[in-house]
């Protein structure tokens, strides 16, 4: 126990400041109502759904929980069920084998709800496009509020996308 505590104290806190939102990543055009933001307060529950990603985006989403980005320290946490979620964070082109599952997860999420599509594939279908196996971008299957480009987007950009979804556009 003592070496563990020594390690914790020696390494200290390395959390960095959060990024600013980017209004040009909004795809819904609508403004998130202030009343919704008030309802969410300063806490946000995210259900992450891999709908067909290569797992590159997942690695960078995992990184959001590391001490540098400290997502939970900002009141944002990943939850185990869409029924507990305010926001769906969806990666990948939507594989046709995941199409029904993704829709069901969206329907199971209580309103008001937000969707952030992560990565070039989530934004446009990316290198996989549309085919017998892929439905392409996330917005082809469920409504999307914010799309974060990148292959994969670095953690800071994913965090920026999440904050964009829950911020009032100026």
């Amino acid at each position: 126990m003592i070496p563990l505590l020594i390690q914790v104290f020696r390494k200290g806190i390395c959390t960095e400041p959060a990024p600013e939102p980017r209004s040009d990543w909004r795809v819904d055009g609508e403004q998130v109502q202030q009343s919704i933001l008030e309802l969410l307060g300063r806490a946000l529950a995210i259900r992450q759904i891999d709908a067909g990603s290569c797992n590159g985006c997942e690695l960078e989403i995992h990184a959001l929980n590391n001490p540098y980005y400290n997502l939970e320290g900002r009141g944002i946490k990943f939850v185990a069920s869409p029924r507990h979620a305010d926001l769906l964070l969806v990666t990948g082109p939507v594989a046709r084998n995941m199409q029904i599952t993704l829709k069901r997860a969206y329907d199971a999420t209580p309103g008001p709800k937000l969707v952030v599509a992560v990565g070039d594939c989530g934004c446009t279908g990316g290198i996989f496009g549309e085919s017998y196996a892929s439905c392409g971008r996330v917005a082809n299957v469920i409504p999307v509020n914010v799309a974060v480009p990148g292959c994969p987007p670095p953690p800071l950009e994913i965090l920026r996308g999440i904050l964009t979804a829950v911020s009032q556009p100026r």
């Binding site: 070496p3 563990l4 390690q7 914790v8 390494k11 390395c14 992450q48 759904i49 891999d50 709908a51 067909g52 990603s53 290569c54 797992n55 590159g56 985006c57 997942e58 690695l59 960078e60 989403i61 995992h62 990184a63 929980n65 590391n66 001490p67 540098y68 990943f78 185990a80 069920s81 869409p82 990948g92 082109p93 594989a95 046709r96 084998n97 995941m98 199409q99 029904i100 599952t101 997860a105 290198i127 996989f128 496009g129 549309e130 085919s131 017998y132 196996a133 892929s134 292959c151 994969p152 670095p154």
Partner: protein
């Protein structure tokens, strides 16, 4: 046993790894599998291609890993669409054969399990995307699949269905547990949810552009795939890469290995309720990825290896920074390993959990890191080292316990060894060019790339047309071999240990489903 004994003549392919090819008949195909399994050859991959336009009909390919190299055997099915089943000699062939039926419409004669594998209900069972006369663009109205799981009956037995969406930040797949109380009686996997039709997407692409797609088969192994693809493309076109490029490729591959092992070591601590481990190792992984991003322009090193060489270079300052980071990482790892080793709660969860005994691992073909943790002491960097590994004397890490503790220990050992290798690489990096563009295609080309990625052997087989466009590319992830073993590893364990056991294998869904 030699190949000549059953009348097979192997012709070596040029290239970085010892790969040879042969064409077999039905009888030789079966004889080879029987002989190979007795000799201890590994079935590295099985795939098929449509060559009806060239008069060969459909062709099935099997790649065997032997002590001296990779033997790729092709079996043309001049008439008909069936071939001899390999699953009696190589159980790992079962799912590969089912996938081959789904994608190309050719079936293993007499195979027991004829359920679909990669095909769910998103396209009909008479549509075969990998046939030349399918453009891969047709779409169908998807339905909800009804898959016949094997059911377990008895007093008090019940099922837990898990997935395809899992409770964490994990790729999708379905696990069907049959349990009594907390004990797992049976686990059956249903994969294929993230099938993206990657094999089909390669068709018609320029050969010097396929590495980007290959690098997205499994994002955590992007370097291994890009290298394997490039190696195959270089063999197919007769390109020799500059020495400095080979060394830089190894540098990138070892950096990928370290990044993944660091991530897994943190996640394994977390899954055994030591969140301290996740905080510490995810901090180290972030530092590691940041240096990758700053020196090579991509945090996961995607698209850095290209056919003909690498798209990055390293100056003296960069080399010194990497060496310094390795020294720092070594001193970070020492106290953390001591904490893991001495933490009673953690060791209690790790030891004797999720065992795959060496005999079972050998019989069912467990490969890569998980294989080495179960006594399968095989590592391409050690056994068949291509440049620059032939100059680095890689030290093999292996263990015979086959439990979670062994897979954790392997990750520590391999991380330490990779840090040593990276330092050796930046010290000895030869001078010169880093890229030699592929020569224009002169004839039809065939090539195979074979790379020891962090998870295990990644294989890419490639057929190119005289036009320089890709005809068929097959990407194989070692997860194909290891997923079935996870079903065995979990037997008799309690359900709450499944996430820990699963994480200790850390198999790729995307790499498998492609």
């Amino acid at each position: 046993m030699r190949f000549a004994d059953i009348g097979l003549h192997l012709s070596p392919l040029p290239g970085a790894m010892p790969v040879s090819v042969a064409t077999a008949t039905d009888a030789q195909w079966e004889a080879l599998a029987q002989a190979g399994s007795l000799e201890g050859w590994r079935l590295v991959s099985l795939w098929g291609s449509d060559r009806r336009d060239t008069g060969d009909g459909f062709v099935v390919h099997a790649a065997y890993g032997t002590r001296t190299g990779l033997a790729c055997v092709r079996l043309p099915l001049a008439a008909g669409s069936e071939y001899p089943d390999l699953s009696a000699s190589y159980p790992a062939a079962t799912r590969m054969q089912r996938a081959l039926r789904d994608l190309l419409g050719i079936a293993a004669r007499g195979a027991d399990d004829r359920r679909p594998w990669l095909r769910h209900a998103a396209w009909p069972d008479d549509y075969f995307p990998l046939r030349r006369d399918s453009d891969g663009q047709r779409t169908f109205d998807g339905e909800q699949e009804v898959y016949p799981f094997v059911s377990v009956a008895g007093d008090g037995v019940h099922e837990i269905p898990v997935g395809p969406i899992h409770a964490g930040i994990i790729e999708p797949g379905h696990f069907r547990f049959s349990i009594v109380g907390e004990k797992v009686l049976r686990l059956e996997e249903r994969l294929g949810y993230v099938h993206k039709g990657i094999d089909k997407l390669f068709e018609g692409r320029p050969i010097d552009d396929g590495h980007r797609l290959a690098g997205r088969v499994s994002g955590d192994s992007t370097v291994a795939y890009a290298w394997a693809y490039s190696m195959a493309a270089e063999t197919a076109t007769g390109c020799t890469i500059p020495p400095r490029a080979a060394w830089l490729r190894a540098l990138l591959l070892e950096r990928e290995r370290v990044a993944n092992h660091l991530g897994d070591l943190g996640a394994l601590g977390n899954d055994a309720a030591l969140t301290f481990g996740l905080a510490q190792f995810s901090r180290l992984r972030e530092q590691w990825q940041r240096v990758s991003g700053e020196l090579f322009g991509h945090r996961l090193l995607m698209d850095r290896i290209v056919p003909g060489g690498v798209a990055v270079d390293l100056d003296r300052d960069g080399a010194e920074r990497i060496a310094q980071q390795c020294r720092d990482m070594e001193s970070e790892l020492r106290p953390l390993r001591a904490i893991y080793d001495e933490h009673a709660g953690l060791q209690d969860r790790f030891h004797t959990t999720g065992i795959v005994a060496p005999e079972l691992a050998a019989r069912l073909g467990l490969t890569g890191l998980a294989g080495r943790a179960s006594g399968q002491a095989i590592d391409l960097r050690v056994d068949l080292p291509c440049a620059p590994y032939d100059r680095l004397a890689v030290r093999l890490a292996s263990d015979k316990r086959g439990d979670v503790a062994a897979r954790v220990a392997l990750r520590f050992d391999e991380t330490t060894e990779s840090l040593r290798l990276i330092r050796a690489i930046v010290e000895q990096l030869p001078v010169g060019d880093v890229l030699c563009p592929l020569p224009p295609a002169a004839a039809e080309g065939f090539g195979v790339g074979w790379v020891e990625g962090w998870r295990g052997e990644v294989l890419v087989a490639l057929e190119a047309e005289t036009s320089g466009l890709l005809r068929r590319v097959h990407c194989h992830d070692p997860s194909w071999q290891n997923w079935p073993l996870l079903e065995h590893a979990v037997l008799g364990n309690i359900v709450p240990d499944f996430p820990l056991i699963n994480k200790s294998f850390n198999l790729s869904y995307s790499g498998h489903d492609r």
